[in-house]
Amino acid sequence: MEQFTTHTGVGVPLRRSNVDTDQIIPAVYLKRVKRTGFEDGLFAAWRGDPGFVLNDEAYAAGSVLVAGPDFGTGSSREHAVWALQNYGFKVVISPRFADIFRGNAGKSGLVAAQVDEKVVQRLWDLLESEPGATVSVDLESRTVRAGEGPDAIEDSFDIDDYTRWRLLEGLDDIDITLSHDDDIAAYESTRPVWKPATL
């Protein structure tokens, strides 16, 4: 996995709450068997609307998505994370993420930065009044910054310690777990014999 320390990119205000993973990428786009090429399905239904934020030139190259609460609810499809990444997003900012989405993001290297709802509101206002403005996300200090002068926004974001560490180091979870193979084997030797098996 690629290391992540800081990122600065165009912020995209997505003024919606409860953005479920069916909206991020509808099921009909999930049929590919690789991890790439899902950008065409990203927000597919909404992109048909000329007024949708990503159809505005100023935001089209966005890499920091700023969304309302309960982002990534619903289906466990990691394709939602891949679609965002394939499109070019590095960070999603929201006041609340669904558990599975947040887990998937951490595994795939997309930063899910949880901030106070007021911060999202201020970012939306800024990004809408200055289309194309950038947002900076510093994972080391867990800080999000945007704007300049007296109205500049600077606040902290939440991400769990372990995910932050893995992202900063660019570590693969499976390698870490396989280094504890002895513990796994020891646990397996204690499992009751009546536990079901499929073979």
Binding site: S17, D20, D22, K31, S75, V81, T177, H180, I184
Partner: protein, 467 residues
């Protein structure tokens, strides 16, 4: 201090626990389907890894499969490639697969319990959010993403941060005609889609204890729709009776040992939950959704809300957007909403009891002229059982369509989709925009409401058929 059921199951699966790191949990059963696994198997191949425990892994084909002509090659080439990829992967890595055409094929969350592989006290994962279904047996079961699927394939474990615990206590008992689906839809309207976020939930209380295993599965299935990590119900005699004699169930002395252990899987009297919600089942009525997330629901006897009724500006905007998408006016009586398609099926309500309930209501009646009724069994076993009981004939004589097993119109990955602007009453779990087909409008309902709606053509309960 005592422990909750969830804590007991969690603690008995910790392989490794270190301060500052998530616990490493052992996984007893890993269920797989064609949509969320190909990239995981690819990852194994790239890294030269094997599946650590193929004997704790089971695959089935469900999301993409057609519900007609299931004996012919899948018509959609992209769906076919995905299904064929699963077949190749299972063969290469030695994983048991129940493919289309096999008697054990079906929706992964219907198949696991049916085979007796879902048992109390287990950890069960699957690359599908409705894995929470298996919690009905007192198992800790949750959906995972594809990276985690790969992790479980390679290590049979998952690093997991310890969730908080919540009790949902449901007192009283459900009235005649009110189902587990109404119970859980009522709960989600109460909590919102994020109310369970970060929690493992235990459903308990007299109303829960009275539910059949299949009804318990309906409740646990929808745990994810209010954001819970998992939802479980303490195992009891109802649970043991369901499991006993099934293919994967322990036999003989092993059965005795297993049941003795399972009886210990209850929350201790002095255990404390981080949060508790108390509901009264006796006040519940048939419940339906009007909006575009499962929390946007009202009693069937109610009206579509007006956006102005919401104090929170976010909720008001969400309601406006939902009403616009659903083409509904605030204030409309739910019973006046006209429906084009009724879908009975899915991992929420596609089991034999559901089909029996639906058949009983449509028996001797006819589907409304402009309405389509689609009945999709959750598994081949469910289909065959229903056919043995003559339920298929009842549906067909009523003008309904009787299909093969799969996820079908719950998510419209196969050809079973709503057309743009088409409105459904669906026994499935999600009413998200476009979920059942681009531009489709979904009302989540119970099985009795679905069946009565098919007959009247507007959202209805069976009581309306008598009027």
């Amino acid at each position: 201090m005592g422990k909750t059921l969830a804590e007991k199951v969690w603690e008995s699966h910790v392989v490794r626990s270190t301060a500052g790191e998530p616990d490493l949990l052992y996984i007893d059963l890993h269920l797989i389907h064609e949509v969320t696994s190909p990239q995981a198997f690819d990852g194994l191949r790239l890294a030269g890894r094997r599946v650590r425990r193929p004997d704790l892994t089971l695959a089935t084909e469900d999301h993409n499969v057609p519900t007609v002509d299931w004996d012919k090659p899948i018509a959609d080439p992209v769906s076919r490639t995905q299904v064929e990829t699963l077949r190749r992967n299972c063969e290469e890595f030695g994983v048991r697969l129940h493919p289309l055409g096999d008697i054990e094929q079906g929706i992964v969350h219907v198949v696991g319990p049916q085979l007796g592989l879902t048992q109390p006290g287990m950890t069960i994962v699957c690359g599908d959010s409705h894995t929470s279904t298996h919690g009905a047996f007192g198992a800790l079961a949750f959906g995972i993403g594809t990276s985690e699927v790969e992790h479980v394939l390679a290590t049979q474990t998952l690093p997991q941060a310890r969730p908080k615990t919540m009790a949902v206590t449901v007192n009283g008992s459900l009235s005649e005609g009110v189902t587990a689906k109404d119970l859980v839809l009522t709960l989600i309207a109460h909590t919102g889609t994020g109310g369970g976020q970060g929690y493992v939930v235990e459903y308990r209380g007299p109303a829960i204890e009275k539910l059949s295993m299949e009804a318990r599965m309906t409740v646990c299935n929808m745990s994810i729709e209010w954001g819970a990590k998992a939802g479980l119900i303490a195992p009891d005699q109802t649970t043991f009776d369901y499991i006993e004699g099934r293919q994967g169930a322990p036999k003989g002395a092993d059965w005795e040992a297993a049941v003795e252990h399972w009886r210990s899987l209850v929350t201790d009297d002095d255990a404390e939950f981080d949060e508790e919600i108390v509901l009264d089942a006796s006040t519940m009525t048939p419940f339906v959704t009007w909006g575009t997330n499962p929390g946007q629901g009202v009693p069937l006897g109610g009206r579509v809300p007006q956006p102005e009724e919401y104090d929170d500006p976010q909720d008001r905007i969400a309601a406006e957007k939902a009403l616009h998408y659903m083409a509904l006016e605030g204030g409309t009586r739910m019973r006046e909403v006209k429906v084009d398609t009724v879908f009975v099926g899915s991992c929420t309500n596609g089991r034999i009891e559901d089909l029996r309930t639906a058949a009983e209501i449509v028996r001797g009646r006819h589907v409304a002229p402009d309405t389509r009724l689609l009945v999709v069994p959750g598994s081949v076993r469910v289909r065959l059982q229903a056919e043995e009981e003559g339920l298929d004939i009842i549906f067909k004589e009523a003008g309904g369509e009787w299909r093969g097993a799969g996820c079908s119109m719950c998510l419209g990955m196969n050809p079973d989709q709503l057309a743009p602007g088409e409105r459904s009453a669906s026994t499935s779990n999600r009413n998200f925009e476009g979920r059942q087909g681009k531009g489709g409008r979904t009302h989540l309902v119970s099985v009795p409401v679905a069946a009565a709606t098919a007959i009247r053509g507007t959202l209805s309960s069976p009581a309306d058929l008598e009027a």
